[in-house]
Symmetry: C4
């Protein structure tokens, strides 16, 4: 995995208040790190829910998983960038696009599982499948939109980047269906 | 995960005794690293014991786990800081607060499991649950107190930071109850 | 594991177009990283398929696995090098040789499993085993050939490095046999 | 885990032969890395064999495991040091001591499992247990001896460091007993 490294600030010969100020300068890094962590966590949690429907881990799933893992591992790079240069338009757009691509990789897994395993499940309603598809697709699309809004306001983009995954921490449509069936 | 990197000291053109002196300068880093490792380890061991009571990994547990994992992964940063600047008040307080927050994240898991799964267990005595709750809560609170004592003495704080987790390596109340029931 | 670290470019006091140009300079790193990731992923996927035939993880398998893991963990080093110095002949050859050696380590696992476990399986045709052996051996040999072609054209080598694993993402001979038998 | 970082050499404006020379300068790092990897691997493999005898992962095992893991994670630091300063006596001794301490941590696990679980196993001969104990203890003691020999010859120590684990890759006494019983 690509490592994120937050450089420790130089605190030699500083007063306490200067040290606090320098420590607070790291805050954007911490926020970008927390955002990326939750984004990846949301994908991981939904991944977990999705695997309830998979009977046998076939080669296609392994390949999609590999691409997803590659995207996830790569995210540390735009995360470090936006933590350092949060006021640079290309960096903010690049961060949003990276999260969007990772979301699309996760979508690929959903669509594969849907067509290969869920189509034959009579117990699952078509409306549930449709809602879950919209819910899943809206994740990367939200990041595309948030990345696009960076041309208007960088701060708006950054706030949206952090807000989007929190919606997905709530129980999703797939989970609710699972609970109903249990 | 955030990587902790201990910079290798420059040992070119040094005598053996100078090299030993330079290697010993790394000692604070090693101590802070060991402390953080044991703190995380204690949480992991108690985590292990806690999961005996969980019937099904539900979404709430996944979300709390995600936040806990985020705290754990973040700890490497204050660890690197206190290893470098152990005589800086803000750094020592920051380290203690980070460990306290991680402890509270772990507490959240305990309280969730308690209310969702243990309340219905007739076999577990209410007094055991109360003792375990006090035991669990006292972990992050000890770190808050130790962080507060840094305003009196930095060394006292650092010694407490290292001592607190060793108490929790002893068999906990949840474990003892588990053994009794087995 | 050896960590790959992509240095964030210095974007202070740059215009948007300069920032984009600097971000694009990281592209070779991203490509070399993606290539290595897929190479390791292919080995992991085939590893997964191979373990279907293993009844008990014996000590020889653990030792080969250890050597394979060591090669895999080492790959990050030539990956970082080729990302930085893609126009240096020794670096390009070194990268190819590292991937070839990793492939041979994986081959060792295949040959061991073949002689220890598959020889006694009556259900598997000898022709299938032969095809799978050729398929497996051709992986590291392709990297040797690609590394050799670097003396003619560096770009040809680099393109081949990236193309070779994509062939192996397709269902392999072992998998097809497995599906037939299921 | 502490990250080992091998700095990529600066290959800008070098001829092919200069680049090769610079790449070869990294060789000591690669050797120290490989040695540490195999040392940790040997412990991991024996760990694997040992866990066959453990009925329930109890708290003591978790605590010893935690200390073992801490030692293992720490090894990357002396590894990076000896790769850089292989001709410095304190560094070579430090490396050997680190490996010895890690070995003793693993021994603690062996002695615990022996007294807690194996004493009651009637099927295992006392002579087998004694041989296995000598075999296990001789691992860290060999590293102590090799570290001591550094005062005579640094190269002798380094060669021994690399040779010792290879002996332990051969099937151990615990394994042979396991195979006999199967």
């Amino acid at each position: 995995m690509l490592a994120i490294e937050i450089k420790a600030p130089d605190l030699t010969q500083t007063t306490s208040s200067e040290a606090i100020a320098k420590l607070l300068q790291v805050l954007p890094h911490v926020l970008s790190y927390a955002t990326s962590f939750i984004v990846i966590g949301v994908i991981w949690i939904n991944h977990h829910a999705l695997f309830h429907f998979i009977k046998r881990v076939d080669r296609t799933i392994l390949v999609i998983n590999l691409l997803l893992l590659m995207c996830v591992a790569f995210i540390s790079y735009p995360t470090a960038l936006i933590g350092e240069y949060g006021s640079s338009l290309p960096v903010v757009v690049f961060y949003g696009l990276s999260l969007a691509i990772t979301g699309f990789a996760h979508n690929a897994l959903w669509f594969y599982v849907l067509h290969r395993y869920l189509k034959t499940e009579i117990t699952i309603h078509q409306t549930v499948v449709q809602k879950a598809t919209v819910w899943t697709l809206s994740y990367p699309i939200s990041y595309l939109v948030a990345a696009g809004l960076a041309f208007m306001s960088l701060n708006l983009s950054i706030i949206l980047y952090a807000l989007i995954p929190t919606f997905y921490l709530l129980p999703g449509i797939i989970d609710k269906q699972l609970i109903k069936q249990a």
